[in-house]
């Protein structure tokens, strides 16, 4: 499927419209020859196998879709737990949100439904989370970045309309590494590294904390004789005996990362094979116990066979990826705020619990909550190509993906507070799920050259079936924890649940492109999709796109007058794509079993009232882009202006009570979400003096995304208090902070409707949204002979984000909660009446405490600027000189040192501006070696 839009030219041209990274000049994988190279936009491209420069034979690039391509070298530099993080800042228009990739904003009110379509080597790969047990995991967990040749992100209508009813949210094409020649090659690499926290949050010490608490009691008028074990156990019981650094307890250790890859390829003129295995492992540093680690192994086998002088080609591949992890802990955020004088463990090693206090929490209890996850992915692909003559190619692609997720969570007795009445002694939650997808795609490609131009066309179809199943259950009260593996031993079995799902999909598509003299290019795409999600009669949707391009540098008057312009293309596209990312069978009335039986018999009741008429969500996309190269390809700039409008999205539409039902699924007409913005991607060869070169690339996105531009009757829907027409989907509804009362330190908020009362329904306003105003990545690469330095900066401007006080909302002076030093610098007190922060208090029932809890932390006062610049990736590599390498009978040897997330610069008042949680940014230092024979 990756080649749908440019089939006929793959033999001749590597079509790389964009580069966010430099690797164009960097051979396609680190294992390649260290040939000198140039950025690939519009210029000379290199065959990644032979390293030979490819001279295009008269055709530049006529691909018309907007594609951002990220090459393996950049992807490899980002060895992360999630392949998606490798894309951050490397391509314009792409953000990650809650572990999901979002391309050009959300097209649906629900983030989960705005995920793009993933295709790995032509096989659709569902990246929607799989639910197993208590949590959800992404199938992309199982994909190693070092396995990836390139990632192409298709964004505009022209590129995505060919995916029709699945292309509304963009398409991510992942191509894994292959070899295309027959020489025997062996490549290997290994690396090791350490991970630790890249910044510590400044909290008060034990002595400072105690002092603060005393001040807070004074402020509340509670004299020491009124201190009790209920309101002051931290002073009475703990005192200054303990000095606990919770950050060090949780993330103080160093973690380790290691990786190793081995691949062998070879064959002869007819048959070629490629076998690759790839390992990536991390040893956790979060609350780690011995043996807490995550391991990923990817293994692939590819075979190609050519027959009949190249007319027939068979490609087959099988990949098997596994991801195994063992980790601790459930509430990662809570530990941060605990008081520094709170003890962690008793002298005998058991966890410390406050005697007689049933609500006391020892954050280290998370050590006794263990989580084991296993995800596997199996990808099989078979392709048959037949090219009877030059102009025609027919092929069939069959692919199979299976994702499984198994999860086990156990809580031992040590997790529980012995002074609380616990309803269980120990607990185990398990979940298993799988998802299978099988796809067949026949296709016929045709091209014909005329004297003045080239006509290409293809027609194809898709058949797809998907099946999934998830089961989960909970077991309690095993006699001992060593029996956790023996499910029969559990005394109590609860919450058994299971469900299955199936989805089918069929479509027909076609595309025609006419390229006139490589100057004017017109193309049109049509696709008709049917999905089983919808009821008969509403199953099919028609999607289409059209585009027109003008390569104006082919015009003689441009060539003569603007000689510095090596390449220039302007392109306009428009089209319609769709989305069927919904649960199945919403169009039928369905029944559920009642919770309780009546006189021993269970009941069934109508739980889902259906609307048989709902159908595809539709997104229309428009884009204008300008693609320029200057000074013989020394500088290449691609600018795109896009505007996507989604409507008709499916949502639970509320009904009147007299129907007896609350809501039903329907396409919400009269509601539109708009995503628009500017993307700029540029690459330049800044300096080339002899053996020294300096190249840069930049990807910049200036979005105005997620805007709800229309929603008729929003006030009578359940969105009335969370969304507003004209604002982003991420608009925040808050009180407006009006300062600290100078008399008493109580935070005040605006009485918006002037009725003298503060109530959320009337006084909260829509203030600000948490979207980024602009973001991007800037990569610089310096090379001198065999030595290379790459520096990659990621930046993001996000002026309004949930700040520290929004998440950790205890007032300064509260029992058992530490305060970041930042908030102790300017708090209100009688001596400091102009203080910026509210006065001290020990409780949420004082005047300050009530206002703090009900108004202050629900106002814009607790939002913070979360813009940041991060030194995301620095790598120093050395390619051993040819003389040494050939003596060792090798082709290539490289050693490197790499640092990821080394420093983050930010004004954010919390710990991690990227995630606005208490998990700090982790930095990694790795050293590695690659060899190829």
């Amino acid at each position: 499927m990756a080649k749908l839009y440019n089939i006929s030219y793959t033999k001749k041209i590597f079509i790389l419209l964009f580069l966010g990274i430099l690797s164009g000049w960097y051979p396609a994988s680190a294992q390649e020859d260290n040939k000198e190279a140039k950025p690939t936009i519009g210029g000379i491209a290199y065959d990644p196998i032979t390293g030979e420069a490819l001279l295009n034979e008269g055709v530049v690039r006529s691909q018309t879709g907007t594609v951002s391509t990220i090459e393996s070298a950049a992807i490899e530099q980002e060895q992360t737990a999630n392949t998606l993080n490798a894309l951050k800042g490397r391509a314009a228009g792409v953000t990650t949100d809650d572990g999901m990739l979002i391309v050009r904003g959300q097209n649906s009110i629900y983030k989960e439904l705005s995920q793009p379509l993933y295709i790995i080597d032509g096989v659709p790969f569902p990246a929607q989370f799989i639910s197993g047990g208590n949590t959800q995991s992404s199938p992309l967990n199982a994909l190693n970045t070092s396995n990836v040749e390139k990632i192409e992100i298709l964004k505009d209508a022209d590129a995505t309309a060919i995916y029709g009813g699945k292309g509304a949210n963009g398409v991510v094409l992942i191509t894994t590494k292959k070899r295309k020649d027959s020489k025997l090659r062996i490549d290997a690499s290994a690396s090791v590294g350490i991970t630790n926290v890249n910044s510590w949050y400044d909290f008060l010490s034990t002595e400072e904390y105690i002092d603060f608490r005393k001040k807070a009691f004074e402020a509340d008028g509670i004299t020491p004789d009124k201190w009790t074990m209920t309101n002051a156990y931290d002073l009475l019981e703990f005192g200054d005996k303990y000095h606990t650094d919770w950050q060090k307890e949780f993330v103080g250790k160093n973690g380790k990362v290691s990786s190793a890859t081995l691949s062998i390829s070879g064959g002869n003129d007819q048959t070629r094979y490629y076998v690759n295995t790839d390992y990536f492992g991390t040893e956790n540093n979060y609350l780690a116990e011995k043996g807490d680690r995550a391991d990923r192994i990817n293994t692939r086998i590819l075979v190609n066979h050519i027959a009949y002088g190249g007319k027939l080609q068979l490609n087959a591949s099988l990949a098997f990826n596994t991801f195994n992890s063992k980790s601790r802990g459930l509430d990662p955020d809570a530990y941060v705020v605990n008081a520094p004088n709170q003890p962690t463990r008793n002298p005998d090693g058991t966890l410390y619990w406050l005697e007689g206090n049933s609500s006391f929490v020892n954050p280290l209890r998370s050590k006794y909550a263990e989580q084991k996850n296993q995800n596997t992915t199996t990808l099989g692909n078979f392709q048959l190509l037949y090219r009877p003559f030059h102009e025609l190619e027919a092929k069939v692609d069959a692919g199979y993906t299976r994702n499984t997720a198994d999860q086990l969570e156990t809580f031992t007795q040590d997790y529980l507070n012995p002074y609380a009445s616990n309803s269980y002694k120990n607990r185990l939650l398990a979940g298993d799920s799988y998802r299978d997808i099988f796809t067949v795609e026949p296709q016929v490609n045709f091209n014909k050259s005329f004297s003045e131009g080239v006509l290409t066309a293809f027609v194809g179809g898709t058949l797809q079936t998907q099946k999934s199943q998830a089961d989960d259950f909970e077991l309690r009260d095993f006699p001992t924890e060593s029996l956790f593996g023996n499910y029969k031993a559990a005394a109590v079995k609860t919450s058994v649940a299971g469900n299955t799902g199936a989805k089918k999909y069929v479509s027909l598509f076609g595309r025609v492109t006419y390229d006139y003299r490589n100057r004017y290019i017109l193309s049109g795409t049509l696709r008709r999709d049917g999905s089983s999600i919808f009821q008969t009669g509403h199953r099919f949707g028609n999607f289409w796109s059209g585009s027109a391009s003008w390569i104006f540098t082919q015009e003689s008057f441009i060539r003569e007058n603007l000689g510095f312009l090596t390449f220039g293309k302007i392109k306009l596209t428009h089209g319609l794509t769709g989305n069927d990312n919904l649960s199945a069978f919403l169009y039928l009335n369905a029944y559920k079993a009642s919770t309780d039986p009546y006189e021993g018999s269970t009941g069934l009741y109508l739980s889902q009232v259906a609307n048989p008429n709902f159908t595809w969500e539709k997104t229309s996309k428009s884009e204008l882009s300008l693609d320029l190269s200057f000074l013989n390809n020394r500088l290449q700039v691609i600018t795109a202006l896009y505007r996507n409008q989604s409507g008709n999205f499916v949502d639970a539409v509320p009904l009147t009570a007299q129907t007896g039902a609350e809501s039903y699924m329907n396409n919400v007409s009269g509601a539109t979400i708009r995503n628009q913005g500017i993307e700029v991607e540029l690459a330049s060869t800044n300096l080339k003096l002899g053996a020294f070169s300096w190249l840069s690339s930049l990807a910049l996105t200036i979005p105005q995304n997620n805007r709800l531009i229309r929603f008729d009757n929003i006030l009578s829907t359940s969105y009335a208090t969370s969304l507003k027409v004209g604002e982003s989907l991420h608009v925040q509804r808050l009180y407006k902070f009006t300062g600290i009362n100078k008399e008493n330190g109580v935070p005040t908020v605006e009485d918006f409707n002037g009725d003298g009362k503060i109530a959320s329904a009337d006084d909260k306003q829509f203030i600000g949204d948490t979207d980024a105003d602009f973001y991007g990545g800037f990569h610089n690469s310096f090379r001198y002979k065999g030595l290379q330095l790459d520096v990659f900066l990621y930046f993001e401007n996000r002026p309004f984000q949930l700040g520290y006080l929004k998440t950790y909302f205890y007032p300064a002076g509260y029992l058992g909660k530490n305060i970041p030093r930042e908030f102790t610098k300017d708090y209100w007190s009688p001596e400091n009446p102009n203080g910026k922060y509210p006065g001290l208090t020990t409780t949420t029932s004082s005047a300050i405490g009530t206002a703090y809890y009900n108004y202050y932390t629900e106002s814009d006062a607790v939002y913070s600027d979360a813009s940041y610049i991060s030194l995301k990736n620095v790598a120093l590599s050395y390619y051993l000189p040819k003389s040494i390498v050939s003596k060792l009978k090798m082709r290539n040897i490289r050693v490197y040192l790499r640092g990821e997330n080394l420093i983050t610069f930010s004004k954010y008042n919390g710990w991690n501006p990227e995630t606005s949680t208490a998990i700090p940014p982790f930095r990694t230092l790795t050293a590695g070696l690659t060899l190829s024979l």
């Binding site: 179809g461 089918k504 089983s532 369905a590 069934l604 007299q658």
Partner: protein, 452 residues
Amino acid sequence: MNVHKIQRYVWGLTVSCSLVACDSFLDTDPPSDLVVQEDVYGDIRNVRSVVNGLYTQNLLANGLFYYEIPFYLTPITDDAYHTSTSYDDLRYNAYGPTNTYTAYAWTKAYTAILRSNDLLELLPSTALPEAEKRQNIGEAKYFRAFSYFVLTSLYGDVPWVTSTNIVETTLQPRDPKEVVVGHIIEDLKDAEAALEGSTNPNTKVTKAAASALLARIYLYHSEWQNAEAKADEVIQTSGYSLDAIENVFLRTSTESIFKTSSSGSWSSYVDRVYYANLAVNNNYLRLTDDLVNSFEADDLRKTKWTTTVSDFLHPYKYHRTAATSAGTAEDYVSLRLTEQYLIRAEARAQQDKLPEAVADVNIIRQRAGLSDLPEGLSKAEVLLAIEQERRHEFFAEDAHRWWDLVRTGRADAVLGAYPDKKWEPHKALLPVPQKELDKNSNLTQNPGYGVQ
């Protein structure tokens, strides 16, 4: 090259693709945890479960059928009030269209109505034995009738919804109360006929239940003759008899015509009686001084059915608390025989059959440990005495006090006399919920409640 050959290839592929792109390929099986309608109504075991769903979803899961009517609708009368100030708008009759408590019954009643409508639409075509089918239709109609009775008695005109086509019913306008009451009566008559010969116990809908409710409806709508005849039928033929005061709400009570079965332990929430204990837990109501003082001395109902907690008297018809287990075997009573006597009494009094009316009242009074009514009362006095008996018999049970005051037109005189209650005559009808008016422009508001 050979254009013709190309054309044939392309055409062939297109045709095969379009043959393939046909609808039936897309037919899939539903997920296993969702039972779709065809499968439900195709298997009679599932049909029986849906019928049982009338009980599980109404009696066990819909507050309209257990404590929420007395809980919300007693304070708007002069019988009791909440101590929590959250309910002050009820206590002082300051409710308006945005009050969530007065809106409660509207939503809950229609939820129950949908269950019945669903069954009534689909039962006829199922493969159940005819007798069983008939009985189930009767049960569904009873629940529908009861729900509409609550709606009309509280809101007046309401939409008469009998279809499960939500796209249409969502915009239905209100139907006049009299029309809906006519339908209720038809439903109950059908239910009576359908339940003839049914062997249901009194924890399920029986013919007696349908008749008992019908008697009530007749009385409330001034059909005195029918009311007397129906109540008489129930008293004579149903096989129930009055029980001692302390036994009325027990599982062994002989007078329960229709009650919720509470056969499980408290922790499984099957026992709805827990919620009906209005003296403790979170549900407590305090009886008003007016009610307390209106009891005659020696009235067993005052001694047995109330309890003092911190100097205040609370209704105490059900004794189950959070701590006690299934030892005290009580069942939540929806219809009981006592009401039939008082219906017959009032119907007789309205037909000027005063001696017979007084005789019925005296039966109830004797059971409560009181002496008979004095001789020679006028019709008006007899009717007042009946109202008083009803008040003492049914306090904090369903919304009897409210129903009585409103239907007799005595609400203005009684409730208007309290200076702290903001009573106005139009408040005899509860406001149609504002949320519903916002969603359905075909609905109108009851008079006196201001701009829609």
